[in-house]
């Protein structure tokens, strides 16, 4: 299975890298050409090509430059150093996880309320949807400022932004999931004269789990976005957001790109972890091997 899928994956990766190199050469060419002209130097095409891929502050760094930057900032520095990408990644990851877990919990609680109460169904859902129409970029600085006037900085305000983003897909998914049992399954509970809470624990909750894990995959990815966005507005000194910001201040495009790759890598890892957890739970619940959430 793995051997068969590795060739297509590598092919796609190769195509992406090829486009990237073409882009690097194309975007950096003029800057380098002008620089050499000012210095009065004549360069051959081969030399020009090499130069576009070895700039200090390129417009678009070449893949191997980004890789070198990631390598040096991940493996060659102590993880506690401020110059280590691992340090910054952990700062972002910790608030992502706190925000994701709290957001998931909030989403589940809201969904339980909405499914069991007509009043909450009618009153809460519009607000929940409205909350997501506000651009997070607009509300994030306000959250950070409000918290900092209360004397709270660091992880909590960032996690709050993640909660704000993460609860939404979980709430929507869980409302759908908790309402997913078939009429026949609900009738069955009715014939046993089961209480609301028995119906919830023995029927609604188990039926909703596939929906929960699907929603959690979305929630964890946007929690990470929320944490990064939360690091931008105040010029935070730590976290992937801070790396992006300082990279753009000082024209360190390589640093920006390596931070982006770190974020993408973490996001993929988190989504896979949720997927694995979902598959594991599904299997414990007796699902067929091939029918994974």
């Amino acid at each position: 299975m793995i051997a068969r899928s590795i060739l297509p994956v590598l092919t796609v990766l190769g195509i992406i890298l090829a486009f990237w190199y073409v882009g690097t050469v194309g975007m950096n060419w003029r800057v380098e050409a002008e620089r050499f002209e000012r210095m009065g130097l004549e360069k051959t095409t081969t030399e020009m090509l090499a130069a576009t891929m070895a700039m200090d502050r390129p417009i678009l760094p070449a893949p191997h430059q980004v890789w070198a930057e990631i390598q040096s900032s991940v493996f060659e520095r102590s993880p506690t150093s401020r110059r280590s990408l691992v340090f910054h990644a952990w700062v972002t990851l910790s608030s992502t996880l706190v925000g994701f877990l709290m957001g998931t919990l909030l989403g589940i609680l809201l969904a339980v309320g909405i499914v069991h109460s007509k009043v909450l169904d009618k009153s809460l859902l519009p607000w929940i949807i409205a909350s997501q129409t506000i651009p997070i970029l607009a509300i994030a600085p306000m959250i950070i400022i409000v918290f900092s006037t209360l004397g709270v900085t660091g992880l909590i305000p960032k996690a709050f932004i993640s909660i704000y983003l993460a609860f939404f897909p979980v709430a929507i998914g869980m409302v759908k999931g908790l309402r997913s049992p078939e009429a026949m399954h609900l009738d069955l509970m009715h014939t046993y004269n089961a209480s609301e809470s028995q119906t919830f624990w023995k029927l609604r909750l188990p039926s909703s789990l596939p929906y929960l894990f699907a929603s959690m995959k979305i929630a964890v990815a946007i929690s990470l976005v929320g944490a990064i966005v939360g690091e931008l507005p105040t010029g935070a000194t730590a976290g992937l957001g801070a790396r992006l910001l300082s990279g753009s201040y000082y024209g360190q495009t390589t640093q920006i790109w390596s931070a982006l790759f770190m974020a993408a890598f973490m996001s993929a890892l988190l989504v896979y972890a949720i997927g694995w957890l979902g598959g594991f739970v599904n299997k414990r619940m007796g699902a067929r091997d091939e029918a994974r959430a």
Binding site: M184, H190, T191, A287
Partner: protein, 262 residues
Amino acid sequence: MTSPPVISANSLDLTFQTNDGPVHALSAVDLDIHKGEFVSFIGPSGCGKTTFLRVIADLETPTGGTVTVGGTTPHQARLNRAYGYVFQQPALYPWRTIEANVTLPLEIMGFARAEQRERAEKALELVDLAGFGKKFPWQLSGGMQQRASIARALAFDADILLMDEPFGALDEIVRDHLNEQLLQLWARTTKTICFVTHSIPEAVYLSTKIVVMSPRPGRVTDVIESTLPKERPLDIRESPEFLGIAHRVREGLRAGHAYEEV
């Protein structure tokens, strides 16, 4: 019969209000069912046979007339757990093993853990599924799944078994086999069984009483007391007596215009 009926309906009416106007699902239904009877309800779709079963089970509320189950209202009967209900589909919970599906009603009703296991084992034995308790529903065939759902309805020992076309989705060979087993089970447990079907041979083979119904409005057109002996091998279905009853059912359906506009 001298004892009071287990289920008794008096001029029962049920009208659903739909967007296309009222639908008379049941109209002036009078029926008495006594303890230990095996009653089949037969008729085309829309004749109210399933609705009648759902009224007995307190899943629908009649709009007129009275109905008593075990001497009380259907609601009270449901609270007393007087009946087990078997649906058209097995309706097993896919995340529970067969045994855990059978113990589901017992958990809800608060039986002790040891008794849950004991009763589940007994119920699974009754439907010939001993040894399949640890399997998940998808690992069983359709017929076995429906048997498991019957075991689930039997587990808490209700006196009445309500079955809504339980074998409708199964092929004829499996169906024959399950019919035979159901008769044996009924003989062993002396339960009162209400059985909805739209198969004439199935109704005649199983029942001590056949209620023929017809649609628009849903009503009873004939009630046939079966003269077949209690002991019924499968080949009784070729006997003249069997064919005679089947003929009368068909006549009842025709009288109720069941064969028109099909």
